[in-house]
């Protein structure tokens, strides 16, 4: 499309969760000794997410992320780190993009895919964990 004059301040409320997580993202970075990593997206599509988790006794004890993408993509992964911490792998597996959307609040429909990608990043991380630990589930 054309170069669009930005009008999102009207779309994402300044006090919304989406702006809060975009401007103050939680758990940014890499976990050097992560137990698993989920890597989704590519530069061509405009979003890349790296999602790191630490797992102890079947529980996710830490989660961090690095995201290349728009505000909604960054906010989605930020929210996700908070959602998964303390959850068991089984509990984490049922966290869907709906849950992320619920936390972030209202957003334009063309931003839904950011929450979907975040869910895929988590699923990829869990898959990586299960592969490394010989579990199928």
């Amino acid at each position: 499309m054309d170069f669009r004059i930005y009008k999102y301040m009207g779309c994402f409320d300044e006090n919304s969760q989406i702006m809060d997580h975009f401007l103050h993202p939680r758990n940014v970075g890499k976990i050097d000794d992560a137990d698993a990593v989920g890597h989704v997206g590519n530069p061509t599509c405009g979003d890349i997410m790296d999602f790191y988790i630490k797992v102890k006794d079947g529980k996710i004890t830490d989660a961090k992320f690095l995201t290349y993408g728009c505000a909604a993509a960054i906010a989605s992964t930020s929210v996700l780190t908070e959602l998964v911490k303390g959850k068991t792998i089984t509990e984490a597996l049922v966290i869907s993009n709906k849950k992320i959307k619920e936390v972030l609040g209202e957003m334009p429909t063309h931003k839904y895919h950011c929450t979907v990608l975040a869910e895929q990043a988590l699923k990829a991380a869990i898959e990586d964990y299960q592969k490394k630990n010989g579990q199928k589930e």
Binding site: M1, F3, Y6, C45, I48, L66, C70, I74
Partner: protein
Amino acid sequence: MARKAMNKAREEIASFIKAEPEEIIFTSGGTESDNLVLKGLFYSLKISRSHFIVSRIEHHAVLETCKFLEKQGAEIFYSPVDEHGLIDLSRLEKEIKNETVLISVMHANNEIGTIQPIKEIGEIVRRERERRKKEGINFPIYFHTDAVQTFGHIPIDVNDLSVDMLSASAHKLYGPKGVGLLFLKKGIKIESLVHGGEHERGRRASTENIPGIVGFAKAVELADKEMDKEIKRLSGLRDYLIEKILKSVKESRLNGQPKTRLANNVNVSIKGIEGESMLIDLDRFGIACSTGSACSSATLEPSHVLMAIGLGPELAHSSLRFTLGRWTQKRDLDYTVQKLIFVVERLRNISPLKIKN
């Protein structure tokens, strides 16, 4: 009284581009003018397959209309541009056929600011007319330019540019929104898109937007007065901003022609960061810009202009356009760069794409 005001406005605006008053058709804006040219010509022709040549970096007002006309049986050639967005003249000339009825190339691009060699294209059209005359081909060929970005910003003389049609919009020169014009050279017949009364010599029915038209003329009067001074002032500021960004932001690049470029346009790509996130971050500091990133469009497609100059999706996603205006001062640019550096650093820290140091 209203008619008098409109006539006066028409005369003033016509003389601003060295046209005749009856060659000016007032419309609702640039989009309608572009539609009127393309569809109006298509429907006025009695041949089944007319051929149009347009550049790949035209505004959507032209490109989407072309897509529509393709469905109606028209044949369109989308002419390529080089890495700076300049049209390939020899390729364009090669694509002209006996059925080519219109060449439409914008005067300057709204995204990357590149100014096209309009006079040279006018010359190509003139040569083609001579060829047709010599070979007894009794089929017209016209040249249209979408001058929405340049009208009131660069001196325009329709005779000097050798254009047959030209679109402009008032709000791009600080006039009211909802009013524009089409310059249509005397003697060219086009079908009206809006049928009804005899307004605009039967080429656009509908009661005239008198306040808009009068406001348009006022904006032209002011632009005429300020233009030369503003070109100098803004191009100085533009070059200052470009240099400062390229120097202080690692892995940044300028998009568009560096020299033959709109005085108010700065378009850069900043590697490793998505454009919309930069834009939202800059917005909180009161800096308004735009991006060619797919993320900011409902269709999730990156800018067709940036793709046409060969940028690739990654750099297109990372683009930002800053537009300077009549009230932009050097200190605003210093502030912008200062905040941009902050935003870039913050977002690069969140990004998994690492840049060279």
